[in-house]
Symmetry: C2
Subunit: 286 residues, 2 copies
Amino acid sequence: MELNKNKRILIVGLGLIGGSYAMALKNKGYRVSAITKEKEDIDFALRSEIIDEGTTEVNEDIVGKADIIVFALYPHIFIDWIEKHKDKIKEGAVLTDVTGVKSSIVKRVQDIIGERAEFIAAHPMAGKEKSGVENSDSSIFENANYIIVPTEKNTKYAITICRNLGETLGFKRISTLSVEEHDKMIAFLSQLTHCIAVSLMCANENEDLVKYTGDSFRDLTRIARINENMWSELFLLNREALIEEMESFKESFDKIYKAIKEEDAETIKEMMRLSTKRRELFDNKI
Amino acid sequence: MELNKNKRILIVGLGLIGGSYAMALKNKGYRVSAITKEKEDIDFALRSEIIDEGTTEVNEDIVGKADIIVFALYPHIFIDWIEKHKDKIKEGAVLTDVTGVKSSIVKRVQDIIGERAEFIAAHPMAGKEKSGVENSDSSIFENANYIIVPTEKNTKYAITICRNLGETLGFKRISTLSVEEHDKMIAFLSQLTHCIAVSLMCANENEDLVKYTGDSFRDLTRIARINENMWSELFLLNREALIEEMESFKESFDKIYKAIKEEDAETIKEMMRLSTKRRELFDNKI
């Protein structure tokens, strides 16, 4: 179900994701406000008609009237914001976020916010290689997953609002995971793959190799172009889960390394059969 | 320059690559013969008009009349074939191949063939996830690299024939590398990436994860669906170069692992900046 059209929605942080949320919501006829650091981002968003109003100050009026606030900020800025401005938030408002890691964020925000409002975490698994509000694009949600990450403190009401927001934004699939499940999944599917791509690019001075590069290397390293401030923060905030997934990858890589070193063709083939079988599932379930 | 139309070309081994060579050559009006193990592959190729004649036997007449023979076989089968049938080859014929590794093949074949004919190695860096002659597709060469891998035994004449073949097939870029350069490049760009993708799929029982998978994981593991017989053979034939590249990747991965473990944000960011800079080159030079 889509969100009630009377809900006033505030986006805090107009980057690629915040801007794309605003665009998707405005396209559907919602009233959208925004608060962000740079004046030019507000100007761009107003000019592009993806928001109705916006400021660079944390305006009491705008914050106080919002029924739903979406935080699209770097994790540490998000927590600072809540600490500083929680008293301006409307009582009973529903807050949500777009942060890529949860263990280190969700309980902390819920503790700070107390009974005044309710924070229900969400992770829109969507993006592009280009950041910034000027690259906003609501179509990035069409083929993407939206994950709701409730804790025992969340009410059915807020979880429903959060799901309705995901539906309104047009996500392909909406699911629910616990904080721990979410962070383990993200450590494996997203953070580990970024660690691998970065390591691979750093392993070899490859300027001369560019001209021989085929699709497989190109695909594998596409994500090696990376925003180092955001990703290093996300890696460290999910350190334990990520370290665990890195260790299990290292073990697996060491196994094929040892098999190649010892010319143990049977172990190599066995791993390839397993990887083929597992990867087939992905293609079948698209 | 394209090959002279009077040259009679024989393809030995009608799989995806052999079949795609045949298709590209027939489309340009060359006379193409084929020898392959399975009768149904010959029948398919005749029916699809990608060859003029073909047999499953190593026919003296077909082999003896060919000016150019392309071997599109598994490495060990290729060497066996040359040992067994070299006396049937026309004197002065030019032989070439499509094998993905060279050190363990090229000198051996040149030694066996002696003065009778000349073997000039080539590596068409093209493919698809589906194998077999029924998936032949000459368009796979359009955006691909063709690498000529001569040794000191090769003549200018044979190198030119080999280059003309690459041009006739429609490759985007044709380059020349030594046997050692080729195998080092392939170890890093192709074999290492396949080892990584296979290891990643084997690292985690991921059936439940399928539904959360984003593009980055999908791209990185596309090549984890792999023909285990061919790739285990290629890995082992290029064992030393591959082990070296695997070790340099392990070192790089261990560096980011250690930085995450020790919460050393500066090292993580430094690696990300380096990977971003190196990866940008790839996008600029497409």
